[in-house]
Subunit: 317 residues, 4 copies
Amino acid sequence: MNITWELAHLAHVELLTPKLDESIRFFTEILGMYITETDGDSAYLRAYDDYEHHSLKLTAHKHSGIGHFAWRSRSRESLESRVKAIEATGLGIGWIDHECGYGKAYRFRYPDGHLCEIYFDTHKYKAEGDMRSALKNTNSKYPARGVNVRRIDHLNLLAKDIRAFADFQFGVLGGRNTERIEFEDGPKGVWVSVNNKSYDLAITEDHSGLNGRLHHLTFATNSREEILIAADIALENGVFIETGPHKHAIQQTFFLYLYEPGGNRIEVANASARLILDPDYETVVWNKEERMKGQAWGLKTVESFHTRGNPMPEELI
Amino acid sequence: MNITWELAHLAHVELLTPKLDESIRFFTEILGMYITETDGDSAYLRAYDDYEHHSLKLTAHKHSGIGHFAWRSRSRESLESRVKAIEATGLGIGWIDHECGYGKAYRFRYPDGHLCEIYFDTHKYKAEGDMRSALKNTNSKYPARGVNVRRIDHLNLLAKDIRAFADFQFGVLGGRNTERIEFEDGPKGVWVSVNNKSYDLAITEDHSGLNGRLHHLTFATNSREEILIAADIALENGVFIETGPHKHAIQQTFFLYLYEPGGNRIEVANASARLILDPDYETVVWNKEERMKGQAWGLKTVESFHTRGNPMPEELI
Amino acid sequence: MNITWELAHLAHVELLTPKLDESIRFFTEILGMYITETDGDSAYLRAYDDYEHHSLKLTAHKHSGIGHFAWRSRSRESLESRVKAIEATGLGIGWIDHECGYGKAYRFRYPDGHLCEIYFDTHKYKAEGDMRSALKNTNSKYPARGVNVRRIDHLNLLAKDIRAFADFQFGVLGGRNTERIEFEDGPKGVWVSVNNKSYDLAITEDHSGLNGRLHHLTFATNSREEILIAADIALENGVFIETGPHKHAIQQTFFLYLYEPGGNRIEVANASARLILDPDYETVVWNKEERMKGQAWGLKTVESFHTRGNPMPEELI
Amino acid sequence: MNITWELAHLAHVELLTPKLDESIRFFTEILGMYITETDGDSAYLRAYDDYEHHSLKLTAHKHSGIGHFAWRSRSRESLESRVKAIEATGLGIGWIDHECGYGKAYRFRYPDGHLCEIYFDTHKYKAEGDMRSALKNTNSKYPARGVNVRRIDHLNLLAKDIRAFADFQFGVLGGRNTERIEFEDGPKGVWVSVNNKSYDLAITEDHSGLNGRLHHLTFATNSREEILIAADIALENGVFIETGPHKHAIQQTFFLYLYEPGGNRIEVANASARLILDPDYETVVWNKEERMKGQAWGLKTVESFHTRGNPMPEELI
């Protein structure tokens, strides 16, 4: 199978938080997510139309940052072939039992140190009772609470060496490079799509000297109107708004950046009806001059957006 | 002062319900309203941007229907002059202490028997603590719960004799007749605006032989998108949808009709940016042929809409 | 009649433009307005649901800026009483035949020199043929072109002496002061509502030493979604976006500021379902600290917003 | 490669129309599409973000109906393997030069007689000059005209034998069966997705005794708000609205059904943020009882929806 299509989608992300209870409250009360399960220092959550056991794991930790993230492969064969390719790079760690005990996952590191897993067997969430949607093609009931995010959308990581990250992604794991920032001295950001969404993972340059940092994690709403409402909900509840709502020129994402109580940057976003259906889509490349124009409608990118990231805790490095 | 402008707005409506607790839950959990106060068999509620103590009073009763409704006058002078005019018709009942003890109100009947009050002095709601909005020009915090209705919008009553109702409204109380259904044998419906909204009260013909019936009470959302979301929330929570979402030709209202657990028909609606700013607006008259076309986009009016109403309890007649 | 309610609404604004043809193209092709009539160096335009002959007059001139603006009074009696009050201030100019020959208007100056007219008799636009709406309660056909603005919304002027401006407005013409910026050394901005919209006119402080300047003129859309679309339309057509889309803390207006080709600042805005129905609404006052927070969701006010205005041409002073 | 993923997306549809000029006007002025090219009795059109030369071909004909439709394969290898599979069924016709001369396509029939093509090489549309978008990741300029449809979405065909159609689709061409109507006596409708959209093709049962009929062709907007606006645009322009706007229970599509002047049923729809990312998604099956509930919010399916289709012209059979 063509390596382009070996991965199915971004499956889940583990965020670390020094304020677990407050973070849980943010994701449930403000974003409108559901808790599937709590287990010691971790809570497993999902947006109402996420189909797996969880798309977000929150783990208590003295620092904020990303614990690990996971790809679901398109098939068992895809999983086997990707694991072989990863092992050949020396970045593999090994098979583990998947969290919560469904199937097995292979753990490895990206070149900048981020921990990642890939798996195929999964636990599909079956909503019961009050959680069940009246529409059988919806994974659980529309929450009617807070921002009502529909599903996990994408993850943005920071990395020192964008080229190394991209070579690993596209040469070993798969996916398409739908957009890229390319200055004269090299790539500054790369957007990875593994399906028809315009991206599932973004990697932007880290100038801090640190490794394995998180830029942000994004959940999708059904409409742009709900992003505007989300801004009011943030305002009303004392949630810090870093920037937005506005539209990124890159990927056309209609965005709002918030900080959850644990200190991680969380985006809520809507891509309207945009999809990349073209199977041999040509990467859109943005140069320095184009980036200087700011966001789509002229908003200047806030400085903190270029510098602030959540470092990976030492013991995970 | 010109009688046209003596009333300020529809202030509140008292609905009767045989299922008080379930009705309270509907208006708070599904519509997203707040409870200001409960008092014996009654609960007082308000939408997040209603500025008075309450816009809805729910009272336990063996039947559903309307208890009374109220107009706030534009000034104390307007109140005095309207009361004189009402008294001259013989439909006046007398001054009462306003519910919840703020100021005095004058009670009277409309020609079809509906109980009504008019007052000027009021209790402006001051949200405190958690209920306070981050924006000082919003009456309370955006609830981020259910349909998030913003304010009471209008009331639709049924009456045997539309002409008598209209004569009383425009000749005694005031307001403008913005739209009207007029068949060859007379008026079938009249829409009353007392401000720049296109209507605050609608009266449509009652063929049942009963008096003082309620057709529906309406709350407004900020957008049409939230009416679509409201339909999903109704579906997910087992709330009966009678018709909609769709757009009325009359008044262009984007509507959704629900039944609250007590049996009263509740509309959630959005009028987009429509306002009647023209001070000598000419009544728009709809004839039978035009009404046969159905709603704006062709939806046929459901049969129950023409027949179902909530009678006034005997002891109120 | 109470002076509060003597005016009905902001009726029209005359903008001066050194690029008449391009300005006409902007308002028709980009904003989606209709031309009612052209007459020598002027064009008369209206949004699709404006009910009068025009809400915008564009006049060729070597500079940009405002020519005059106009209030429609609530009645003929209101007109007469306001004219008497204006004459008593010494700021009156005299009766003129209304533009385009319908009725008479009284011309006067605001304290900062802005030319203004007040009238009651008007020419209500009757759309014919292709311009006619399928809904008889809509003033003309939905244009399905550009931003599809629905109606004129408000005007923002600059004035050296805010207090003088406000005293004249509320003491002589009428209206309610719904919101105000008040620093320790005095008022910096005043918002005037003459009906149930939260404002029809805003006056903000002019530090330039000039008189009679325009800050911006605003047209309303039906929804916030259409403001987001407007931003894309501006971007696609090379229209300069000064700031937005975002939400003002003051008045909660969802805004987008554009420059039309003649150099005048034009806002497209949506107020969602917000109305001021309370007849004795208490002015919301914003102090310096509150203003330093920026717009509702934290956007910093762009510098040009504080400084750039369109001066009144010398011959109009 | 797994047969599931051999096709990339629905590429284009050829509609026949007895009123070519009026149909062109409908798709350009009402839906907001662009003409790429006209050639004799045919016109080639595209929505503003369609990336190929055309997504719609309109051909003058004495009847309405579908001429042919086309799939783009995911790769050249996919094309070759699918053609082999088609040839083995005896339904193949042969290689043809693609319309407009870019690459080659393989022509074949579906079991009910519908003509179809599959190809990989294509002509990617490069917007120039005025047609160019200010955002380099948008295929052409946002039209700001009519409904502003973004891209072709899906095609719904009628077929006598649903099972034969489905066996051919999933056994020979590929794709996933995301939803299905299954009564006790067999399947009544099948929804086919070849990517992460929830469907690209739907086949519903034809009771007419005819072959190769079209039910409808659908274009997608960016938001549900634009579907509501589309209903007004249809109303204002005398376009027949068959049903909607409303939400299908099946696939959750927010729909509006129109007839273009040539007589073909055209849907404009929005799927909000819904995507099927799960690579082993389990088909959602709807039984008779569930279908009797009508659409998602209770709207009864209009009778014409069950009966009216556009037959394939005789000479194409």
